[in-house]
Assembly symmetry: D2
Homo-oligomer: 337 residues x 4
């Protein structure tokens, strides 16, 4: 940790900071420049110390040197984590293909979708039963009824399924049906939810917040992991920027970036990233080429009848064509799909 003092900070102010840091067990290296004094501090209680010192008189800024995440970081665990869901492995050599509709709308719709994505080559089914919607006046999901339909689809197709949980009170219920629990982009910093998911022994797909930095995203994972659940899969799904042609901006560099910082697997949701079904295949290929461990794609048996996210959903035929392109690309990358 580096503490930069203001140009006008006198010796007394510098000494107060030094004393404070020493009292918290830090080793101090002092460096007096002509314009500014800089205090290097080495010790354990960094987050606390930064907070304490940042507001002291004469302090210009505190520059952290180490990343704030610990357990989620490569420095803690250099071997890559593989998250297993039955025979599916996130972080293995196979690209994991997750597909299904945004929302479970009816038994017929979901079973049709499940069969279609199974046939097209998907490894896992997705579908929302509890839907966080921007408007209180649109379809909010079938709730437990939706979970039952998802379980039936698993029965029929053999595909495990992932579904979103939005309320800490529903975790037990959702976990009793689902194979994987998803934390949506709007809940990435819902720490109550994250902590409780850390105590459930089900894998978690943690979507990146709409405006979360990579570091904040890994800190959200840290909440789950530090509570005891190491089965976290990160999911990049686009960030909010000034560009409006696409619904969000896929941060493709985040894939190698996360891989250089963390041992956790990382997948990509090209549907929310672009918001336009015709851009989904190209962006999916880009994600795999950048090193993603999987793709979570919205597929609807009939996108124009979808109760949500129709414009970004592929139909089963389009999904099949997309996977036909992903497969040779994965092979060129030394993986398979």
């Amino acid at each position: 940790m580096i503490v930069v003092m203001e140009p006008r900070a006198n010796d007394q102010l510098v000494n107060s900071v030094v004393d404070k840091l020493k009292s918290m067990g830090f080793d101090i290296h002092l460096s007096k420049g002509i314009e500014k004094t800089i205090i290097g501090a080495v010790g354990e209680r960094r987050a606390e110390a930064a907070q304490a010192v940042e507001a002291m008189p004469g302090v210009e800024k505190v520059v952290p040197i180490l990343h704030p995440f610990k357990l989620a970081g490569l420095q803690f665990k250099s071997e890559r984590t593989v998250v297993r869901v039955g025979q599916v492995e996130f972080g293995g050599t196979k690209i994991v293909n997750i597909a299904g509709p945004c929302a479970v709308e009816s038994r017929d719709q979901l079973l049709a979708a499940a069969k279609a994505v199974k046939e097209a080559g998907a490894d896992m089914l997705r579908g929302g039963a509890f839907k966080p919607r921007t408007s209180p006046y649109t379809f909010q999901g079938l709730e437990e009824e939706g979970l039952k339909i998802l379980a039936e689809a698993r029965e029929v197709t053999g595909l495990p399924f992932v579904t979103e949980v939005v309320n800490p009170r529903d975790i037990e219920l959702v976990a009793s049906y689902a194979d994987v629990l998803q934390v949506g982009t709007r809940n990435m910093q819902n720490y109550t939810l994250l902590k409780e998911l850390g105590r459930v022994m089900k894998p978690v797909i943690l979507k990146r917040g709409l405006s979360a930095t990579i570091e904040e995203w890994l800190m959200a994972a840290e909440y789950v992991v530090s509570a005891g659940n190491w089965n976290v899969v990160l999911c990049e799904r686009g960030i909010r920027t000034f560009e409006t042609f696409t619904r969000n901006t896929l941060d493709v560099s985040a894939i190698p970036a996360v891989r250089s910082l963390s041992h956790l697997p990382v997948i990509v949701d090209p549907s929310h990233a672009t918001g336009k079904s015709k851009l989904v295949p190209a962006v999916s290929l880009a994600a795999v080429a950048a090193g993603a461990d999987g793709l979570m794609v919205e597929v609807h048996p009939n996108p124009s009848e979808a109760l949500s996210d129709g414009p970004q959903s592929l139909n089963p035929e389009e999904y099949r064509e997309m996977l036909a392109k992903v497969k040779p690309l994965a092979v060129a990358m030394g993986r398979w799909a």
Copy 2:
């Protein structure tokens, strides 16, 4: 609602869209240009219809004409809402001054803060008992113990208090102590929380999400209002942009913008907006000049001892000086503080 068809959409595709919209009760106005056909649709079930049509073949985009919020909008209720908390009125002529520390850290700290802000001229106390923190390793709040201390401070100073609620399960508990419930920036789209707050008869301060558009923010208010609780105060607290000199970027234009769209009162949190205590006074003045109905400022008896947000907290003396500048400005605006 306007549906823009792709240049290559033939009559059959256009007719399918028209039929769909008619079946949902819409009146249709068709306009064929040389390059594109445009369908104007007038009717009630807009959100649904937009969704249904957006994914139909041949549709390029759907352009909404009306704002998605209803009850929160000026068109529904043109008279400005005044939210009353005892003698305090949000949306009256007086600028409401809310002040206090980021977190309740101890009985001594909070009572000192409460007395100091009361003396400086504050109308309401703020302080967090449940803290959403980026890191699981930093102070997470005193929880119910914190609420008790806040209630004691109210007893002592006569100031009502506002505190954040982060978990739907805690609403009842927090509401049994607090005068006003705050929804933090990270929970602005925690719809479970919003819906349940709509059923509590306590005023809610709804902070704008870090990357929420003004429209999304008003839709979040719509969740609370449509569930029955009209006592919503909006709070602009800075949005996330590329600028890193300040912690966030205060969107000062959002104040007159919200006032042109909604009847709900709007206040400003200059502390989170800037992240730097020395910028807080100037930004507070700007907020009042732009038409804000109140200011929520972090004040700590000793910012350099604060367990969170020290660098953006004023000490009581600085707060007093700030209010001394706000008062004449409010008068120049035809209000008072």
Copy 3:
């Protein structure tokens, strides 16, 4: 073009707008809803009309229906443009590999770089002679001396070269040496420069502005094309967002987006997009997978001696290894590199 009137706009205001549009030759379709009146207008002078009408009393907003670009758009020319530079083709089946240092620093440095990238498999050399630098106190480029060195490197290696032009006054000079002229990100909306480049018969690589939308980028291309020079290659190089881990955020979706809007070829600069050499290979693969027609990569014989952009430069060995990964990927995409 759709004109949305304010809810309170009376017939007189609506008629004024209608009359104005008719006087500009537009056909009018009027649609009166309960809350708002909407005017559809079909005609030629759209940009002018939008401007004229937008500020008329009673007008809430004008929604354009057609894209503002014309010659650069797929609707004007559906056949993809191939930009030829000697034997190099942008927009053909081969991925064009451009490489070289950020700046020409000396004859030795550039010749070493040129030979190294030629040997590694590059098709074209890059190197800056006129450098736009954030600070007036850092190296500003060798200017004409740099151009001479680049020409010598072409002589030696046979590689054509691209270099940036920053000043309209230098166009003639730079064009007398270079094979391709580059417009940098900071000059994407330097319309004086663009117009004059439209009159030079040399291919232009047009980098996307740091905060330019896709539409603005294509409008910048329109400036060059409409002045007579159709040899424009678009270059995505990352946009500015809140994320600071990378220097910029590569907008990988912009590649298929541009290809769905324009016939012009599009390449990617992964070096500026990421700012970190270790992320460059993964991002380059992603760009090719997304459909990019080429890659422009910073390669320096000795990145730690570079006078600019060292941290994002590959050394020749790293570039060779990267191309070894790009080649099979290109083949999997049905192209070659």
Copy 4:
């Protein structure tokens, strides 16, 4: 300057960096933590050294400690700069009111505007003769003819005028007519233009780039100042963010921020910041309350006839009403308008 080494950097790599810095005249302070080694370096050639070291093997990042600007900074010159244009003073106690149309469209239009803003209380006239426009198909300005009309308006009203220069080749011409030269947002990093404006002895209004950080903006000022022209007035005009309700997002905190970093005066353009005339008055008041030294407002005799920026232009009556609100506010701030 702080150099943070990667966790795996061995002594040899650390020593190379230390030697390099010593060879550039730096004093070194070494601090070895358990995970990372940190090198503090004190010396003069910082920009160069940062560049040299950043790309060396084993270096994770370089953290600058001092701001990159020198002459524009408060540390170089603590006394506030007052830029004088005849009797007008930027940075004095009076708020400078600049007003006029976006573009000079005709002699009649400009003279009407000039008389109207003079009568309403403006101190200076604005109007564009060379217009940077997003589309090559819209009005590009009257060029020298426009300058002549502006000069005539000065003759008639006594108001000095500011106008934009977009091309280095036009500087001499524009300077021969105008009292103040404006650098527009798209040219903030047009360094050729900035350097040449540094050699002209006319005041310069330097608009902040659409996506420029405060630091980059001050570095742009540094280009002008370091070339010899100290008469620079900074102009905040909104930055590009995800919010689309307003044309840009006024960064009101930038006003006190700039004042805490630089001695240069700072004004605000509320018209481009909001893009909506009805938001201009509230935002103007906010700017003055935040400490702005002036306001540059688009006023058109007939906004709905404007050839550009009509929707954000006030008519003379609205401008008069706005100034009537600004005046008492300025007085409350201890200034006058």
